[in-house]
Symmetry: C2
Subunit: 765 residues, 2 copies
């Protein structure tokens, strides 16, 4: 408490000292204050605001390490923002040192312009010690927006307690290529579903406090990023304005309209040969001019130097800086020392550059003013302790985990009988918390969560759970010597839970784990399970032991005929600290699974891109008329049964024949009654899809336009009405919104699969 008083006192002293300046006065708007401050700043001070020191801390010998000298050098020329660095550090260690840095900046600089703290925040806060939620793909799989709002509010408040006022989320990239190792950070393949989650993320994060300050600013990203060559994270992609407006850009346009994200991150992608960090057309004309984005535009890490070091479209760092500035970039995200924007100090006096820099500085200052960074006290250790891992946050997290697991196949083997007393738990992913990229690495002691193995041990007792990894996560040695032991354990127990997959365990103690297979910088050309995991699964199934296959990670693997012999299949996706517990609850029927896929599983190697909303012309392999041709076309999405929106339950939901009605020719409403026809309470997602029958340009075979998750007790019925403004049924042609008149096809049901949908027609005049 002494520290807090001291800081508050300091803050008051500063306000008194600079009391005469308009920018210090909270009664003015952020825009007015930024304008005022800008006029007081030197050229160097302005350039400094365009970057920051994103990695204050590392971890050395299991302790937080703060290299004050190195940080100080970076901050001399890049002093707009700070970030924390290693995810291995504990929040409780981070806060006091971060506060020292923050205070020094406020107290020891001419104008006292505070740093704003910016961090990644995917499963929760960036350092260790917060509530560890499941990854974004798992959040999306809940299809539960109210629950997601609770989770985002918890993540927001834990960030605030650390003084983080700006996060590098939401990621609205569409997960349509199973090779991309970053799918775990994405909500899924569908632009409406992604837009819905992202919009609520932004609204919740940017909720205003009682004084009117934005709690945490958001960064919508990566503009734009999709279908990159080879499924490689940073690779080139082709353009196509209709594709960008209707698919990749749709979540952005939705978020700009409804949630006003304060910043946006530009992708690493090269679109039609023009790197996005130098893509004036895409940023100034499309993003600013046509999509109407008004917030700050930042680079991805090191993307501006890449203009000369990788893409070779700039001669040097100063040339790259100028090209990026001209394209519209206003802030440089750079974890290393080779930032390009600081070279702009040499351009003093250039009127064109001066004007662009002024715009860029205003953009970050406005965020700082809007978030109260100039006005609010630094966070206290007391509040940190009170906020992180509060009972409420842990409860929300448990509920997210329970709703994010998707049941893909079940011959009745699940739920396991209460008489099941012994179980074999096999596979390398059974004993890691596969929390994915950018999760806090909650150290190795399993302090903040159970693996699937440990959750089952808690439930059944350690002696009743026989765990055998069987194979390595990454097996370059092709070692299968431990598979027989796994099979023996399965036979002895009589039932096996086989956990295989791909990903990155947040429990690894190295920042770049030796067992990492997914995340930023990774991709999978082969969509089988990495290493010898398929061999492990095959051996257990060959032995005839009833097996429950559990997939771990965000990748949509190829489930071959052998794997499908499993009695039941579930996916946990990117896990949070309660995913193991939730899975145990589901296996034993204490929780009824209700997650739904947001990424369609390809039916063959190379059967991608894959998404339920393909174009009519994608459906034809060429000649038709004979079933035997199908042998050559498993890549067609119509052959993928594990499709967007699909997920099983332990109960049965019956959908009545749906009806559709127009209201005043301004909205359309589809109505259906859903009944729980089984014996246990469950949750179902009612989904509405549509397509204008004839369109000016090709339109997908169907698109999601509304969904709602409901809970029903046994025998209970609910009538659900999903209403859509007719305006929302349009699409872009060359960047112009167009709504067809005439016949529309609608579909209502429990997934995007034909067999789960009832068709409807309505004519719009």
């Amino acid at each position: 408490m002494v520290g807090l008083h001291l800081l508050l006192g300091l803050a008051l002293a500063i306000v008194q000292c600079y009391g005469e300046s308009l920018y210090k006065n909270p009664s003015y708007t952020p825009k007015e204050r930024a304008k005022d401050l800008l006029e007081l700043m030197t050229w160097e001070e302005k350039v400094g605001q365009l970057g920051g020191a994103r990695r204050l801390f590392s971890r050395v010998n299991d302790k937080l390490s703060f290299n004050e000298t190195a940080v100080g050098i970076t901050l001399k020329t890049q002093n707009g923002q700070i970030g924390f660095g290693s995810q291995l550090n504990y929040a409780s260690e981070v806060l006091p040192v971060a506060n020292q840095v923050r205070s020094a900046q406020i107290n020891n600089t001419r104008l006292g312009i505070p740093f704003i703290t910016v961090t990644d925040s995917v499963n929760g806060i960036y350092p260790t010690g917060g509530t560890l939620f499941p990854g974004t793909c798992a959040m999306g799989a809940t299809w539960n927006i109210p629950l997601y709002q609770q989770a985002v509010a918890a993540i927001r408040d834990e960030n605030l307690a650390l003084g983080v006022k700006w996060v590098l989320s939401p990621e609205v990239d569409l997960a349509r290529d199973p090779r991309n190792g970053r799918n775990g950070e994405m909500y899924g393949e569908d632009s409406y579903h992604v837009g819905e989650f992202a919009t609520h993320y932004i609204k919740t994060m940017q909720e205003k406090d009682e004084r009117g300050y934005v709690k945490v600013a958001t960064t919508i990203k990566h503009f734009v990023y999709g279908q990159s060559s080879g499924g490689v994270n940073t690779a080139s992609m082709h353009g196509g304005l209709n594709y960008i407006f209707n698919e990749l850009g749709a979540p952005y346009i939705r978020a700009f309209r409804d949630a006003n994200p304060l910043s946006l991150m530009v992708s690493y992608a090269t679109v039609d040969q023009v790197p996005m960090s130098a893509n004036k057309y895409m940023l100034r004309k499309i993003l600013r001019g046509m999509m109407g984005f008004t917030g700050l535009i930042m680079s991805d890490a090191v993307a501006i130097p890449h203009l000369y070091s990788r893409s070779k479209v700039a001669k040097s760092a100063p040339d790259a800086a100028l090209k990026a500035l001209r394209a519209g970039l206003e802030h440089e995200l750079d974890p290393s020392g080779n930032a390009a924007f600081p070279t702009l100090v040499d351009s003093v006096g250039d009127a064109e550059i001066a004007q662009m820099i002024d715009e860029a500085v205003k953009a970050i200052l406005e965020i700082k003013f809007a978030t109260g960074t100039f006005d609010l006290p630094l966070p206290s250790g007391h509040m940190l302790e009170k906020t992180l891992r509060s009972d409420r946050h842990l409860e929300i997290n448990k509920n997210v985990s329970r709703e994010s697991i998707v049941l893909l196949q079940n011959d009745g083997a699940l739920p396991l009988s209460a008489k099941t007393k012994r179980i074999a738990v096999l596979g390398p992913y059974a004993d890691v918390l596969n929390s994915g990229s950018y999760s806090a690495t909650n150290a190795s002691e399993h302090k903040y969560g159970n693996t699937i193995r440990s959750s089952l041990e808690r439930k059944l007792g350690v002696r009743n759970v026989k765990y055998v990894a069987g194979v390595d996560v990454i097996s370059t040695s092709k070692d299968t010597s431990r598979i027989p032991a796994a099979v023996a354990a399965a036979k002895s127990a009589g039932v096996a839970v086989v956990v295989v997959g791909s990903g990155w365990s947040g429990q690894d103690t190295s920042a770049v784990s030796v067992n990492r297979t997914d995340g930023e910088g990774y991709s999978h050309p082969d969509i089988s399970f990495p290493g010898m995991q398929q061999q492990l699964l095959d051996a257990v199934l060959d032995a005839g032991v009833p097996a429950i296959l559990v997939l771990s990670g965000a990748q949509t693997f190829l489930l071959n005929d052998s794997s499908k012999r499993s009695r039941a299949i579930l996916t946990t996706l990117i896990q949070g600290e309660f995913t193991g517990d939730a899975l145990a609850e589901i296996l034993f029927g204490e929780v009824n699974p209700s997650g739904k896929l947001t990424m369609t599983f390809p039916e063959a190697q190379g059967a991608f891109p894959v998404a339920y909303d393909y174009f009519p012309s994608d459906e034809q392999g060429g000649f038709t008329g004979s079933g035997r041709f199908d042998w050559f076309w498993p890549q067609l999405t119509r052959y993928a049964p594990l499709r967007f929106g699909f997920g099983l339950s332990y109960t049965t939901f019956e959908f009545s024949a749906p009806a559709v009605a127009k209201n005043d020719n301004t909205t359309v409403a589809a109505t259906v009654t859903v009944t729980n026809a089984g014996n246990i309470t469950g949750k179902e997602v009612v989904q509405l899809y549509y397509r204008p029958a004839v369109t000016e340009i090709e339109f997908p075979v169907m698109r999601l336009i509304r969904f709602e998750k409901i809970e029903l007790r046994p025998g209970e019925s609910k009538q659900i009405s999903l209403e859509v403004p007719i305006y929302d049924l349009g699409y872009f042609i060359d960047g112009e919104w167009h709504v067809e008149k005439g016949l529309y096809n609608l579909w209502v049901g429990s997934s995007s699969r034909t067999q789960d949908l009832a068709p409807l027609n309505i004519t719009i005049t």
Copy 2:
């Protein structure tokens, strides 16, 4: 001879009868004659010119079948052109009936406007009985332009002998996706190499005869087609103007500049949501306006009806016809009865439509006049017999086959010792002539060519060649029961040639073969060998028998570690009638292999698109700095050793250090001396690649700009100078040609692999 005189007499009678009309007078230009004729035509006659009866004949009970009634009905409303139909029919049966149809049209119609005969012509003439050349991909693999010119001239003359005045080639689509089943019809992955072959194809086909008539008109296709979704033939693709101008469009632009193809076929593709058959922007603005194409624009087969039946961007056939016409289509290719353009007869009196139809009719009439279709006599059976399969054509064909086979790996096992008296020939592709899509199906009697099996039997004697198929081409039955017999044969012989692959045998008697795996309408999401072929190969290798692996077909298969145990690997690509003989010559060292890859082999499932000229940003998987990450990135093209331009020889070529010089700052010339350092004569392809060091937009890591194939005797040296106008070193930015000043990187060598290239630098001011 009687027939010929009779026909000549008829033609003379017609000329006399209509002697007063300008359009009948060959001394006027095609443009003048078309304009004159157009003014005489009724609305119905005009609409009739927009289509034709593409399939006059089918084959029933092993005989040519001509349904005069059905053909007559089609020709009533679609009478611009005719085509032959089934590839199973013999040219000698086709010609007299075709001539009847042609004569009837000339004699029995008001204006006597002749049909023009249009056919596919990939490996040679469309019906059976001509010289069967290897497929386009194999032609490209020769890298021998003078030889290719000879082959095209032979194909041209055989077409002329049948009265074919217009062919549906060249196909300049880029083969960059190994899943696409149509790669066999493409020259390869590189736009310069493709443009070079296509330009010489067009020039040779369209060579003028002594009277100034174009011998055979060409159709450059499919504008534009590349990187379609899932590798599926007809699927959608994204746009990107730079991508289209610099990659997909480059062979078109080259051909328009240097060879003037008289027609162009529009692709089935939907580009950025707009089907190409309705894509006014791409056809009128880009193709006509910016690329400067002046010939006739035709649809692909049934593509206009697809606008309403598949893409659903038109309400009906008349709506589709109008959209296509407005987009710029001038001719409808339609093998069935449901053409859309005939519905335009109902639009009589509409001034906009009338004007577009006039343009379209003029386009086809000009081709008819230019090719002498109005003036020249119908072809005679005598000339047909004299032309088809002439000794000269067969000799050219043998030489093409000898130069199109590519040696990919050789530990010294090849050439086989002359002492090799017995050999096992294994695999399902050893006993088919895998001539690919659109090849004449030279019936089942092996009359016109040997399979690999029969070629080896001819060489060694039937009793010394033990053939076992081992597995089926398409094994849905997963039958491996015959593999042990194959292994036994291999052990007994002591050496095995294992022929595996994918494709379509031209020897199958059904037009759509039950054993077909490639060609139009086919694609492979899995790039392993179809069926149980890998199991067959593995079993032979496991048995320790020295094995020569021969790949059959155009697909670039995944060569896994097991396959690479083969003592040597060759690919025959899409075969002609002498490919088996040429392979036997190569196996025994009578011919030194000199083919070079034109399609890069991917190193993993899903490791595509793949091409040597990827962008700098594609090269990074993300994080770098540790070799172990490479495990995740086999999809990066830099890891593909079997790369564009690569192919082994039985001799060794030594390249001197190359030099580069500028001439007057208008051309650049790279000079290198190549020496045959081995003991036998061989051919080598000298390749020149380049890249401006810094570019305005991203430029590939390197691009081919010149190549030359040379022959060297043992010990012989030649100095090769590859000269390039500096103007040609540019690239398109937003459709504008741009030549960089400053440093250029050049590379000279024997393939696109780093280890086969020597770097050079030059500065252009």
